[in-house]
Structures are given as structure tokens and as C-alpha cells.
């Protein structure tokens, strides 16, 4: 779970700030005040009233001194955003909690999704709170992962067909869950999506279906897909 734990370190306050010039300090303070939202270089110029060339020079210095970083903005790749190094880009910049630079952070999604499925498998049926608590209790994560974020993973697992979403009836396996509450269950092997009748034959997904006729150029008798399928 090392990759999972590596995600999103907690911001650590910087105690030792290297010496800065007056303008550098003004710009640095402004950037820091914007926390995980960061600030656009043009906005820095406007808000501080410092000339663009100077702002750019100061930014370079701040980056070299490892006080500020440039972070990508997935919405607008050309718009340079600066942020104090101790902050992680907000969801507006990354594209979402489980995203990095607009790309899904597979290194976190994969292992934590597996963890969710694992804990749910052990408990049988559970609400998202149950799953989130169980995940936190494993102490495999060293970052705050609110229940809402676990819900995102759980919902994606439902769409993937790995978990079932259901409502508690209040008895039987649901006895510990309030009636009507949404809960989740692992999909058993037999219930995994079985290949449908249409998807199991070559014509089902054939790109030539619309032009395939008995006496046409493409026909069931000269079909290569059938040839492969019936190659006993």
C-alpha cells in the first residue's frame, strides 16, 4: 500500500524561510495566502502592481529557493498557476480529488479501491460509512480520506460491476443497517456480467453488420469472423 500512503502529504508549516527581498516577500505572501487554489501570474501583477518582468524574475527566485511551485491547471494548460510548495493543488486545478493534473491518479485509485472491496468482502454488506471506517482502521492511508471520497471510489466500483448497490431491508444480512439505507455488497463470481447472447456471437460486435447480406461482398458464408469462431 506504499503508493496509497504516498498520496497527498499533509501540509507542513515552513518555519525557516530563506531571506527574501521586499518584492519577493510581497509576492510570496500573496501566493501563500491563496493556499491550494494558487494564483495566476497575471493576477499577481495586477494585485501587487509590480511590473511583469519583475514579477517573473521574483517567481524564478522563489522557485529556485523551493518556496513556490508552478502547478498545472487541467482546465487551461497555458495558464501558469503558482502555489506555495506546502500546498497540494485543489480539485479545481487537478480535476478532482482522485486526479493529478487532470489525469486519474491510478496509483492511488487502484490500491484504495482494492482495499474498499477487501474490507467490504469481509463485512458482507455495509454502508459507505462502514467501508470508509474500515478502510481508515487498516491504517494503510496516511492522508485524510473523507467518506465522501471513498464514496466516489465505491460508486465507480458499482459502475464497473464489481460492487452491488442496494437498500437495506433491516433484517437478515441487513440487520445492522437502518431500513432503507443505501448499502453495498461485493458481486459474487456467478453474478459478474455474463456475456449476453448478442455479444457472444461474431455478428454482435461486427463492424460490417450493416453491409452483410447473404449474396453480398460480405456475407455469412464468406465471413472471416465466423471462420475463426468455427475453427474446430
Amino acid at each position: 500500500m506504499s503508493s496509497a500512503t504516498a498520496k497527498r502529504k499533509r501540509p507542513e508549516p515552513k518555519s525557516l524561510t530563506p531571506p527574501l527581498t521586499g518584492q519577493e516577500k510581497v509576492i510570496y505572501e500573496l501566493i501563500r495566502s491563496r493556499r491550494e487554489e494558487g494564483i495566476w501570474s497575471k493576477d499577481i501583477k495586477q494585485e501587487t502592481d509590480i511590473a511583469e518582468a519583475v514579477v517573473n524574475k521574483c517567481l524564478k527566485v522563489l522557485i529556485v529557493k523551493k518556496l513556490v511551485k508552478e502547478v498545472p491547471n487541467y482546465q487551461n494548460k497555458g495558464k501558469k498557476i503558482y502555489m506555495a510548495v506546502e500546498y497540494q493543488p485543489s480539485e479545481a486545478l487537478t480535476g478532482g480529488f482522485w486526479y493529478e493534473n487532470g489525469k486519474p491518479d491510478e496509483e492511488s485509485i487502484e490500491p484504495i479501491s482494492k482495499l474498499c472491496t477487501g474490507v467490504l468482502h469481509n463485512m458482507g454488506v455495509g454502508t459507505v460509512e462502514d467501508i470508509a471506517n474500515a478502510v481508515r482502521n487498516t491504517r494503510a492511508l496516511n492522508f485524510d480520506c473523507p467518506t465522501m471520497r471513498i464514496l466516489q471510489l465505491v460508486k465507480a466500483l458499482v459502475l464497473k460491476g464489481q460492487l452491488l448497490e442496494m437498500r437495506s431491508t433491516g433484517y437478515g444480512e441487513f440487520s445492522s443497517i437502518p431500513v432503507g439505507a443505501v448499502c453495498y455488497k461485493c458481486v459474487t463470481k456467478t453474478a459478474l456480467p455474463k456475456a449476453g447472447a448478442f455479444a457472444s456471437i461474431p455478428c454482435g460486435v461486427c463492424p460490417h453488420l450493416s453491409i452483410c447480406t447473404p449474396d453480398g461482398l460480405v456475407s455469412p458464408s464468406n465471413c472471416v469472423y465466423y471462420g475463426k469462431w468455427l475453427d474446430f
Binding site: 480535476g95 478532482g96 482522485w98 486526479y99 487532470g102 489525469k103 486519474p104 485509485i109 466516489q152 471510489l153 460508486k155 465507480a156 459502475l159 464497473k160 460491476g161 442496494m166 431491508t169 433484517y171 437478515g172 456467478t190 453474478a191 456480467p193 455474463k194 456475456a195 449476453g196 447472447a197 448478442f198 455479444a199 457472444s200 456471437i201 455478428c203 454482435g204 460486435v205 453488420l209 452483410c212 447473404p214 456475407s219 455469412p220 458464408s221 465471413c223 465466423y226 469462431w229 468455427l230 474446430f232
Partner: protein
């Protein structure tokens, strides 16, 4: 819902069962709707006597329904009356699944009944006397009583019914009827029935008569019936008597003097629909849920009749429990377990504490699964997730929202969305935020009915391809098939085994595909 490809499949079935002429007449009717004899003759260009013969074959095999239609005449003329022939698309497709019907009866009522049904399916419609004589001869049995008994059981279980009226009379709506209909359809959005639907409904005998086996051996004098029940004859029926000579042209389609019996496809569809739900719930939930559902469906019949009803007949918990107890596995279930299964099945309780299950909802789940699996195979895992997300709610989703919900990259998501859209499985809308900061967004939605229709259409085509491939494989090995088994040695043995495998693979796929066609078309 008979699409172009559905029609092609139906025509092929008729062609292979009854030959080219009959299929030509059938195709003409399927493409144009109901037509008169003259219209069929001019549309097909076939000689009149041939068309008549073809129509007789199609009537005999329950593939068309004749009806007499009253139409307004011109100025100062009386109303015209003409006989129309309407194709029964569903019945034609049922020809693909006769083996399923026989198997169903075999499992429910035993071999004797299955044999009787087999004969009836081959002949389309027969009198009871003929059915019994034919069965007694083929089994060389000396006990026609047993055959008679089997026939009674078939009718009792509603697998066999009296043939519909050979030529129902569809009269012009009275002025009053017309105005009420208009008013109703305007406010209550009642879908008006087509003339063909009215004719088919009017032809079905009344419930009490439909499954009535009279004491005599099968002939029924219509004049006697008239004498017995003069008061129930509607004005239309009386008029029909006056016009029945018109139909003399077609002889057999005229007034039936004998009671003819035919397979009741509606009942087969009803049973197969129930079976599909039970099998699906066994996989989705568990054996307990399947037993409870089966108990609810098997023990009761919807009083309204019809093959497809939305809800199962309401039953009390005790009645369901009693029914569950009758099965071997059910005996181990507690009342609490039954109640849990009822909840899992999404059963609702009415004011009298009676449970019923929403069958349409279960069928919808089955349909979704079939389409989801198709999406998975055709476009991959991301499309599968997208389809599941969009089909949960029938509203537009923005590309970003979709990619965030499925936790996939936006570019990849958008690429697949476009593919699905190009193939007509999604609808898309572009919206732009007003200037100066103009942003474009793409919104996506699934039109479920359209997707289902398209998938069904593809399935008709695929079924026809499977059938064609079977004939191709069989023709290819024609010589081998004609060889006596004593001469099949050496390499021929493996060739024969290969042919068997291919045939089995194709035919079992066709039967599975036909299940899916029924799921979308009949259930």
C-alpha cells in the same frame, strides 16, 4: 416492433418453411401492412389463384389474420365492405422457437402433451378429432382416451386454444364513438388502436369460449349457435353474416363450421417471460429469491389474461409461503427468509397487505444487462461504465462529470463517447456559455428506447446470419451427410464430428439469441 431486418428474418423463415411463393405474399403483407386480395395480386404480380393458395397456407399456420373492414363509400353510396389480410409478425417469428414451446410443455405436462403440441405446431390448426386421430396413429396407441386426456390438459393449461374468428367484422366507429375517442386521446394520451390491432383483438374468442372443449368431437354448427344466443350477436356480427359470401373466394377462410384448435402463443410467451425473470433473479440474487418469485408467478394467473402484464397477481405472505413450502428447497426457508426475498425482489405491498412484483422492472434489468454486455464487448470497459452511468438516469451528463464519475481520463472518455454517439447509441447536445468567456460543453444522454430498438434490429440481422451460416455449412457437407454411416471412416469421421460441432455451436447460439430477441420484442 417489426423493423426492416425483422421483416427479412420473418420472410426467410416463411421461405424456408413454405417456399418462395408464400414468402413473397408474406413479404408483401409485412412491408405494406394489411391488404385485400386484389391489392396483394397487383403488388406481387402473382396469379390470383396462387395468391389465394398462399393466403390459405398462411392462415392455416396462423401467420395472417383476415378481417372484414367497413369503409365509407363515396357520395350517395352505401358503405363498402372488403376483406383484408393482416400479417402476424410475432406469430411468424414464433416459428423459430417451436422447439422451446415443446420443451416447455414436456417439462410441465409430460411427453404425451408435448407430442400432441408438436403435431399441432406442424399443422398450424386442426380439429380436436384430427389431433387425437393423428396422435393415436403415430404412437400406434389403442387408448384414444389417454390422448384425449392429454389434449384436455393442454387446453386446461391454456397452451392450446380455439382458433380466433376467421374473419372478424370491423365496423366504422359511430359518430359518438369517434368524438369520445378523440376527446379521450387528447386528454388521457390514450394510444389509439390501429384497425389491425382491433381486428386481432376482435377475432379472439371470449374468455369462456376460448378454452372450452365441447362434449361433441369437434364440429360446431354455427346456425345452432345463432339460435342459442341470438341476443349476444352485435349488429356488426349480423351484418357480417350478410357479407360472408364475399369471402367465398377464399373458401377456407370463410365461416368455419368446425372448431379448430391452435397453439396459444400468448401463453408460451407468458411462461417464457416468467422463466426468464426467475433465471435472472437466481443469478442476481439467490436461490431463495428465485423460489419466492417462482411461487408468486406459477401459482396465480392474471385475471386480465394477456401475455405481458406489468405486475404479478397480488398474493398474501401466507399464500406465498405455502407455495414456497411445496418445493423441496423452499421447505428449508423460514418466513423471515421469504420476506427478505420479497424485499430483494422489490415487491410492493398494497393496502390489503398483498405482495406483487414489478415484472416489467425485472425485464428491464435483463434488457440492460444484455445491452451492457454488448457495450463491453464492442467498445470496452470504459464504455460499459459510461453506459451503466447514463442508463441509471435519463438525463444529460456533461463530459467532465462522466469522466469524474467513472474515474477515467477526460480525453479517453470523450473519445468513447464520440464512438458511441456516432453509432447512434447516445444523443449529444452542445452548449456554450455566453461571451466574453465562451466555454463549450458537451452533454450526453442515452435514449433507452432507441438503443433497445437498435440492438433488437441488430439481433434480427444476426439471427438471419446464423441461419444462413448453418445452411451454408450443411450444403458444404451435403455429400458427407448423404453417405450411409457404414461408409463414414477415416478422415470422414472427424469431418462429420466437426460438422456436428459447428451445427451445435450455431444452433445453440441461435436459440440463445432468440431468447434475447424475445426479451426485447415479446416480453
Amino acid at each position: 416492433m417489426s423493423t426492416q431486418r425483422g421483416i427479412r428474418l420473418a420472410v426467410h423463415l416463411i421461405d424456408s418453411h413454405f417456399g418462395h411463393l408464400v414468402s413473397k405474399v408474406c413479404e408483401c403483407l409485412l412491408l405494406k401492412g394489411s391488404l385485400t386480395l386484389n391489392q396483394i395480386v397487383s403488388n406481387t404480380g402473382l396469379p390470383r389463384p396462387d395468391v389465394k393458395k398462399c393466403l390459405l397456407v398462411l392462415i392455416q399456420h396462423n401467420c395472417i389474420q383476415p378481417f372484414t373492414l367497413e369503409q365509407r363509400g363515396g357520395f350517395e353510396e352505401g358503405n363498402n365492405v372488403s376483406i383484408h389480410y393482416t400479417p402476424l409478425f410475432d406469430n411468424i417469428l414464433h416459428r423459430l422457437r417451436f422447439s422451446k414451446f415443446v420443451l416447455l410443455v414436456m417439462n410441465k405436462l409430460g411427453k404425451e402433451c408435448a407430442d400432441l403440441l408438436q403435431g399441432l405446431l406442424e399443422h398450424g390448426r386442426l380439429t380436436m378429432e384430427l389431433i387425437i386421430r393423428r396422435a393415436a396413429e403415430s404412437t400406434k396407441t389403442e387408448a384414444p382416451d389417454a390422448v384425449h386426456d392429454a389434449f384436455k390438459r393442454l387446453v386446461g393449461a391454456r397452451f392450446v386454444e380455439r382458433c380466433p374468428d376467421s374473419e372478424p367484422f370491423i365496423e366504422l366507429p359511430t359518430d359518438e364513438e369517434a368524438t369520445t375517442k378523440n376527446r379521450r386521446s387528447k386528454f388521457a394520451k390514450v394510444v389509439p388502436q390501429t384497425i389491425e390491432q382491433r381486428a386481432i383483438a376482435a377475432a379472439i374468442p371470449m374468455e369462456a369460449k376460448r378454452f372450452l372443449i365441447s362434449c361433441d368431437t369437434g364440429s360446431e354448427d354455427t346456425t345452432e349457435t345463432d339460435k342459442d344466443a341470438p341476443s349476444i350477436l352485435s349488429a356488426g356480427e349480423k351484418r357480417k353474416r350478410d357479407f360472408s359470401e364475399i369471402d367465398d373466394e377464399l373458401g377456407a377462410a370463410g365461416f368455419q363450421k368446425e372448431v379448430l384448435w391452435r397453439p396459444n402463443f400468448e401463453e408460451f410467451v407468458r411462461c417464457l417471460r416468467h422463466k426468464a425473470c426467475i433465471v435472472h433473479e437466481r443469478l442476481r440474487l439467490d436461490e431463495g429469491a428465485a423460489i419466492v418469485l417462482s411461487a408468486m408467478l406459477e401459482s396465480s394467473r392474471n385475471p386480465e389474461g394477456g401475455a405481458v402484464s406489468r405486475y404479478s397477481v397480488p398474493m398474501s405472505l401466507n399464500a406465498i409461503y405455502e407455495e414456497v413450502m411445496r418445493t423441496e428447497v423452499g421447505r428449508t426457508m423460514t418466513l423471515d427468509h421469504v420476506r427478505t426475498s420479497l424485499d430483494q425482489l422489490g415487491c410492493t405491498k398494497n393496502a390489503d397487505d398483498l405482495y406483487s412484483v414489478d415484472l416489467s422492472n425485472l425485464i428491464q434489468l435483463c434488457r440492460n444487462e444484455e445491452v451492457e454486455s454488448f457495450m463491453l464487448k464492442k467498445y470496452g470497459g470504459v464504455a460499459y461504465m459510461i453506459f451503466r452511468l447514463l442508463s441509471k438516469e435519463s438525463r444529460f451528463f456533461e463530459t467532465d462529470k462522466i469522466s469524474q464519475d467513472i474515474l477515467k481520463e477526460k480525453v479517453e472518455t470523450q473519445k468513447i463517447l464520440f464512438q458511441m454517439w456516432q453509432d447512434n447509441y447516445l444523443s449529444m447536445e452542445k452548449i456554450s456559455t455566453p461571451a466574453p468567456k465562451t466555454n463549450h460543453f458537451l452533454l450526453w444522454r442515452i435514449n433507452q428506447d432507441l438503443v433497445w430498438k437498435q440492438v433488437l434490429d441488430g439481433m434480427y440481422h444476426a439471427a438471419l446470419n446464423l441461419i444462413n451460416r448453418v445452411s451454408f455449412e450443411l450444403n458444404k457437407e451435403q455429400e458427407l451427410r448423404e453417405l450411409p454411416s457404414s461408409r463414414i471412416t477415416g478422415v470422414l469421421v472427424s469431418r462429420k464430428a466437426r460438422l456436428l460441432k459447428i451445427r451445435y455451436c450455431l444452433e445453440s447460439s441461435l436459440m440463445r439469441l432468440d431468447d434475447a430477441i424475445m426479451l426485447f420484442h415479446d416480453f
